[in-house]
Amino acid sequence: MKRLLMAAVALTAMTATPAFATDTVATYSISGSVNAICSASPTGSITLGNLADASGNLNVSGGTASDAGAYCTGAGTTVAVTHTSLTTPGTAATGFTNTLTYTPTVQAGATLLTGDQPSGTALGSFSGLTVNVTNLSAGGNKPVAGTYGGQIVVTLSPAP
């Protein structure tokens, strides 16, 4: 009889507990990282055309090559710029030259760098690269006939 009474008490206690709705949560984490990278066309060209006018004087001041798809994602990205003058083989007589000098400029995103940057310059992340030949000069001489070639090397070093 005691057992029956105890069971009855237990049932009463269960029915007295109110039913309630419980929200339950699980928290998920997503993590990832994006490495510092740079991307640019490995080569480009600046075609200056005929450099001299009918009098044989230099009549071109510069030119441009653009790489709209170039970019670097890292805030610590640096850029180094070096160049070689435009030259043509052979020996130039007095009053003539086979070497044309110029100043390279590099526009990376909103950053404009003028002249060589041999030791690397802070650049940060950017998109869009333009390389320019500016201030092309024959030093007051007439450029000798021939095909001229030079190089501007832009080195992008990605860093976070």
Partner: protein
């Protein structure tokens, strides 16, 4: 008076008879089964529980991909599910200016397996999972939520699938660490 005496006598005899019967039952008559009926009445309260069984973890954001997460769900009455994203994307805390971006939008698909083997599914864009949003079934402010359609789940696995695609050029992701937190909530449906 005689009448009263007679009554007393009968009472006395009846009492003696009863005494004999009780004694006799205890000693020689087989035990007779007594039937006792106890009416038990109770209510089982609504109970829902969910346990994270597999987290998304680290993902590769440099290429399109997907990651899976799971939860074990037990709910003894119909329920609903909602999800809330802290960032609304997989995000880097540092700002980025165009053409760089610091966010990777994603989609979250939830497959809720139920006791009857049916599956309830919804796929929501991450932007619809931030606080206050209600446009998708899993959106945190969607009062209906992704329902179990009247079914229950007992230790059943809900599978979450996260899918993302890096931005298309000329937009690029800025360098750094990215992350988001998704809080999955289940609640009983009245």
């Amino acid at each position: 008076v005689p009448a009263q005496m007679k009554v007393r006598t009968r009472v006395s005899r009846a009492g003696a008879y009863a005494l004999v019967m009780v004694t006799g039952t205890a000693g020689a008559v087989p035990a007779r089964a007594d039937v006792l009926t106890v009416n038990a009445k109770g209510t089982i309260g609504a109970s829902c529980g969910m346990t994270l069984t597999h987290d998304f973890g680290a993902v590769n954001l440099n290429a399109a991909g997907s990651a899976g997460g799971t939860a074990s769900v037990t709910c003894n009455q119909p329920f609903k599910m909602n999800a809330k994203s802290i960032n609304g994307s997989i995000k880097n805390s540092q700002p980025a200016s165009a053409p760089l971006t610091n966010t990777v939008p994603y989609s979250l698909k939830a497959d809720i397996l139920l006791d009857d083997a049916s599956v309830r599914t919804a796929t929501c864009a991450s932007a619809t999972l931030v606080t206050g949003q209600s446009s998708c079934a899993l959106s945190p402010a969607n009062a209906t939520g992704l329902t179990s359609n009247g079914k229950i789940a007992t230790g059943k696995t809900t599978t979450l699938t996260l899918s993302w695609t890096p931005p298309a050029p000329p937009t690029h992701l800025r360098t750094g660490s990215y992350g988001d937190t998704i809080t999955l909530t289940i609640g009983t449906v009245p």
